[in-house]
């Protein structure tokens, strides 16, 4: 790995200027490295971060890629990392014009990293530096504790997808405000009373308003006095609520273990806490990237296309560019290319916003002809997509903006396969061209870790309840995960979850023309218990 040559760096500084003029915002300095394919192979299991902690599974990953490389060569992995300053990587045999194109793409990513609110928690420190410190910590611990460090890493990583990423984000978003008595009374207290009715609630509000009207100075205090005289317990419940709210930060599973596991808090095991915290913070750092794949790649592709084509220095390479760009941004016949989808959505939104179509006026129109010709010439498309890049993540992006017009425009559809019994083939066919279905299909394929609630039983069993969202857990992995959890918790662990079971319809009910194997499923609740490294699975009803 070596730094980019001065010659290329100079070209890239020119790119930065042009990008700034176009409105992108990012920090001045950046680091660019020339890497060989071999470097890429070794960096990839570490998510391209050279200083990430070592872990044996990464070795297996490295092994994998070398072999795979031999068999079916391809070139995987991300090319820029979100640190301060951002670091990007370039193949050692790239020509200048290609590096410029890649660099514009990289600038798009950097702008996204540094402005999208889902990355808020990564803005304040240099991850590469922190990772280096963590790596050294692990190396030191390994020299003392040997392989047990790797076990703790493994078991913490088994649940590192359940980190409280959104809890962390919300701590940036919400101003810390003390809960007022009035808010507590109306928002919580009377609504929790057993005999509360809407009429009663309205009456209370009337009473409060009346009090405020009659005594503008101290109406609120008087109202609260009357409440206190009516409900003696109000004051103490309020104080309790305030206290709870104060530490009302929810805990994710790793935090919970760190705080409540007796095993981890024994003196001889305290070092494990450090390991777990590193795994947790590393996971939190990577969370936004996987949740903004379509947006991030779409944004970067939008900009590399725009900026490259407007760069006067590299004219003459338009055809070369077109070949690569077409590869990057074409929609596959089947499958979903996040670059292509994201970029098309950005272009679409820009043109929609330019025509003033992102408005209530437009949405009210049902007439197809009028919709087509609607143009209030409001402009501001660029501003709109900048606000999207700041405030959205993939699921919101897809949900809010992917509509039938877009699906029709780009001829998108949902593909499925079915069995053709005569020919004994799987047929891939166009299943639906409706935006609703396309949206659902994407939503289902987006990253979505399960949610768990955490409790502890009387006999000190850690009880996890998988919040049911119409999806089962992947069964083969439950055992390994619970095994690690039992180790970290120190004693028995249970997990409640739902699994689907098939109910076959009676043959008589099948109508003609319908598929024979109409299926219905029934959800059953199961309890997995891990005790002494043995797992049991029981149906609960």
């Amino acid at each position: 790995m070596e730094l980019l040559s001065q010659h290329a760096k100079k070209i890239m500084e020119g790119c930065k200027e042009r990008a700034r003029d176009a409105g992108l915002r990012f920090q001045d300095d950046s680091l660019e490295y020339i890497v060989t394919n071999r470097d890429f192979l070794q960096l990839s299991p570490k998510n391209m971060i050279p200083t990430l902690y070592d872990y044996w599974v990464q070795d297996v990953e490295v092994l994998k890629d070398q072999g795979q490389y031999e068999l079916y060569p391809n070139n995987p992995y991300e090319t820029v990392i979100n640190t301060r300053p951002p670091i990007s990587f370039y193949n050692d045999n790239n020509p200048d014009w290609l590096n410029v194109m890649i660099f514009y793409h990289v600038i798009g990513h950097i702008d996204f990293f540094q402005n999208n609110l889902y990355f808020r928690h990564t803005w304040d420190y240099d991850f590469a530096g922190k990772a280096l410190a963590d790596k050294r910590l692990f190396a030191k611990l390994r020299s003392e504790k040997g392989r047990w460090v790797d076990y703790v890493i493994e078991f913490s990583r088994a649940i590192d997808n359940l980190v409280g990423y959104f809890d962390l984000l919300s701590s940036f978003a919400i101003e810390k405000k003390k809960l007022s008595k009035i808010d507590y009374y109306f928002d919580v207290f009377i609504q929790q009373k057993e005999n509360h009715t809407i009429a009663g609630y309205v009456a209370e509000i009337d009473k409060y308003n009346k009090s405020m009207r009659e005594f503008p100075q101290n109406g609120e205090a008087l109202f609260l006095e009357s409440v206190k005289s009516k409900y003696a317990e109000f004051e103490s419940l309020y104080n309790k609520a305030v206290n709870e709210n104060g530490q009302g930060k929810r805990h994710d599973l790793l935090q919970f273990l760190m705080e409540h596991s007796e095993f981890l808090n024994r003196d001889e095991n305290k070092w494990m806490l450090m390991v777990i915290e590193v795994v947790r913070s590393t996971s939190l750092y990577f969370q936004p990237q996987i949740r903004t794949k379509i947006l991030n790649e779409g944004w970067a592709s939008y900009w590399h296309e725009n900026l490259f084509l407007n760069d006067d220095r590299i004219s003459g390479h338009e055809v070369d560019f077109a070949v690569i760009n077409a590869k990057v941004t074409s929609m596959p016949r089947v499958g979903m290319n996040p670059y292509a989808l994201g970029m098309r959505l950005f272009y679409y939104l820009e043109s929609q916003a330019n025509a003033g179509k992102i408005s209530y006026d437009y949405q009210r129109i049902a007439d197809n002809y009028r919709r087509k010709n609607f143009n209030s010439e409001t402009g501001g498309g660029r501003d709109f997509i900048f606000s999207v890049r700041e405030n959205f993540c993939d699921s919101m992006f897809i949900n809010a903006f992917l509509d039938q017009d877009f699906v029709d425009l780009h001829q998108l559809f949902v593909v499925d396969k079915r069995l053709n019994k005569e020919r004994m083939t799987w047929e891939y066919y166009v299943k639906s061209k409706k935006a609703k279905h396309y949206k659902k299909m994407i939503a289902d394929s987006l990253y979505h870790p399960p949610a768990l609630t955490i409790n502890v039983d009387d006999d000190n069993t850690l009880v996890l309840n998988h919040v049911f969202e119409g999806k089962p857990l992947y069964r083969d992995y439950i055992e390994g995960t619970l095994l690690g959890l039992e180790f970290l918790w120190g004693t028995k662990v249970s997990l409640y979850t739902h699994e689907a079971e098939l109910i076959k319809k009676e043959p008589g009910q099948v109508k003609d023309g319908q598929r024979e194997e109409e299926r219905k499923i029934k959800w059953k609740r199961f309890r997995y218990t891990m005790k002494d490294r043995k797992m049991t699975r029981v149906v609960i009803n």
């Binding site: 890649i102 649940i159 929609m331």
Partner: protein, 460 residues
């Protein structure tokens, strides 16, 4: 071909078949009827959004081929670590799969694939049907697509029974993921050492001249590389006795002894013949229609592992022969053809056994070789009672060091009820010739670990 099979079917039917047997045979005949000439619209390659990434998409040039960085040492290290895990009370995490990388000239490479997974709690799809058929009414289920096409239009198709092999198909390790380049010999070593497969107790007495080594074994008088002091001294004493300088019962004065130049005895470098045991392995595979898909994969997988193990045991002194059979048997020349071939025909195990016997006889292989025969089948046999197969098998047992039969059940019949399994059990050969004949029955959902266990069964 078709007529022949149908004729065979009719004669069998006249002799009487149970409905179950009839059904199986008809199934294979039906497969034959399928229009093999039909051209398929290519099946789409489906990738999800997280499989796309910058380096692949943006960096243009296809990178130069990389040499494997990691040596087998690091694989050993991983496996050593894994063993330690077991001792620490956690289940093993590394699975060793392998890939066969086919090449045009038949020089296939076996690639060892250490695989592992990071187990996490993750959401799964509702899997009700193993084949992955679409989810019925749910219009939002499926993959994304783009381009021309109306709802309901077919845009691609794929045979249900995929063609065997192709891109490393048959030997693909679990998940086809992590791998390191190595060769069959190393895989054999790993199997032997890490998975504690037994060493061959007796490699057999049949030895053959394999190579010459050079060693200081010959003696030469007068000149040579190393003076053999003991022999020289003996010679000197002989000379002196002859000369009368040493007499019985007299005291010997060594200063008075004469040394003739020819008394000096040297060791001299010489060519030695080196004998080693060697083996011939017959891999026999049923490639009839009913073997399609999983059974073939399992059988071929197991045969790769056995092959590797034997290569290691015999220090590369293994000759392999590949035999495929349906109702007729034929020998194919390399492993690639062996695992890639597929045919839709009936099944007659006897044909293969008799071919093996014929080859052994004609080439007099039994004189100089230890002979191993491994047969993989799904257990179907039109010769339902084994009338023809059993005599051939018995004949084989006379000369073979080991005959291992793997029955990979194809899921059409009832488990433990396949013809081959039944008639072999019934024949009593399994007990009678326990030292030579072994059988292993595996189901469709067998994994790597089970396969290795099966090999232990077959070779121990």
């Amino acid at each position: 071909m078709k007529q022949k099979l149908h004729a065979l079917y009719r004669t069998l039917k006249e002799k009487g078949l149970t409905p179950e047997q009839d059904r199986k045979i008809r199934y294979e005949l039906d497969l034959l009827e399928l229009d093999r000439d039909h051209r398929y619209a290519p099946a789409p390659v489906v990738r999800n959004i997280y499989q796309y990434n910058d380096l692949e998409m943006l960096h243009d040039a296809s990178p130069p081929k990389l040499l494997a960085l990691t040596t087998v040492q690091s694989l050993d290290y991983l496996l050593e670590k894994d063993k330690q895990r077991e001792e620490d009370g956690f289940p093993r995490k590394i699975r060793v799969g392998k890939m066969v990388k086919p090449s045009q000239n038949g020089d296939d490479k076996v690639v060892i694939v250490p695989t592992t997974v990071e187990e996490k709690l993750v959401h799964d799809k509702v899997r009700l049907n193993e084949e992955g058929e679409g989810d019925g009414d749910d219009q939002g289920a499926g993959e994304g697509g783009a381009g021309e096409g109306e709802e309901g239009e077919v845009i691609g198709e794929q045979p249900v029974r995929p063609e065997q092999g192709g891109q490393g198909g048959a030997g693909k390790g679990e998940g086809g993921e992590h791998d390191v380049e190595s060769n069959a010999y190393d895989l054999g070593r790993i199997l032997t050492e890490q998975f504690e497969l037994p060493n061959l107790k007796d490699k057999g007495k049949k030895k053959s001249l394999t190579k010459y080594t050079y060693d200081l074994t010959d003696k030469n008088r007068g000149f040579g590389q190393i003076l053999d002091k003991k022999s020289t001294l003996r010679k000197i004493i002989q000379t002196n006795i002859a000369l009368g300088r040493i007499r019985a019962r007299d005291k010997i004065d060594s200063r008075g002894l004469l040394i003739s130049p020819r008394d000096r005895i040297y060791r001299i470098l010489s060519r030695e013949k080196d004998y080693e045991s060697q083996a011939v392995v017959f891999f026999v595979r049923d490639y009839s229609g009913s073997m399609g898909g999983k059974p073939t994969e399992l059988v071929v997988n197991q045969h790769v592992l056995i092959y590797s193990w034997l290569i290691y045991q015999y220090k590369n002194q293994v000759e392999t022969r590949f035999i495929l059979h349906d109702t007729e048997a034929k020998e194919v020349k390399n492993f690639q053809t062996y695992y890639n071939s597929t045919v839709a025909g009936g099944t007659q195990v006897a044909s293969a056994y008799s071919l093996v016997n014929k080859i052994v006889e004609e080439e007099s292989l039994e004189r100089d070789n230890n002979i191993y025969v491994f047969h993989g089948t799904d257990g179907d046999d039109w010769d339902t009672k084994g009338d023809k197969a059993l005599p051939e098998l018995e004949k084989m047992l006379h000369y073979a060091s080991r005959v291992g039969i793997t029955i990979a059940e194809n899921g059409y019949g009832i488990s433990g009820q396949t013809e081959v399994e039944r008639y072999i059990r019934k024949s009593g050969l399994l007990e009678e010739r326990k030292d030579v004949l072994r059988m292993d029955v595996i189901s469709e959902d067998t994994n790597e670990t089970r396969l290795i266990k099966g090999i232990r069964e077959l070779i121990s």
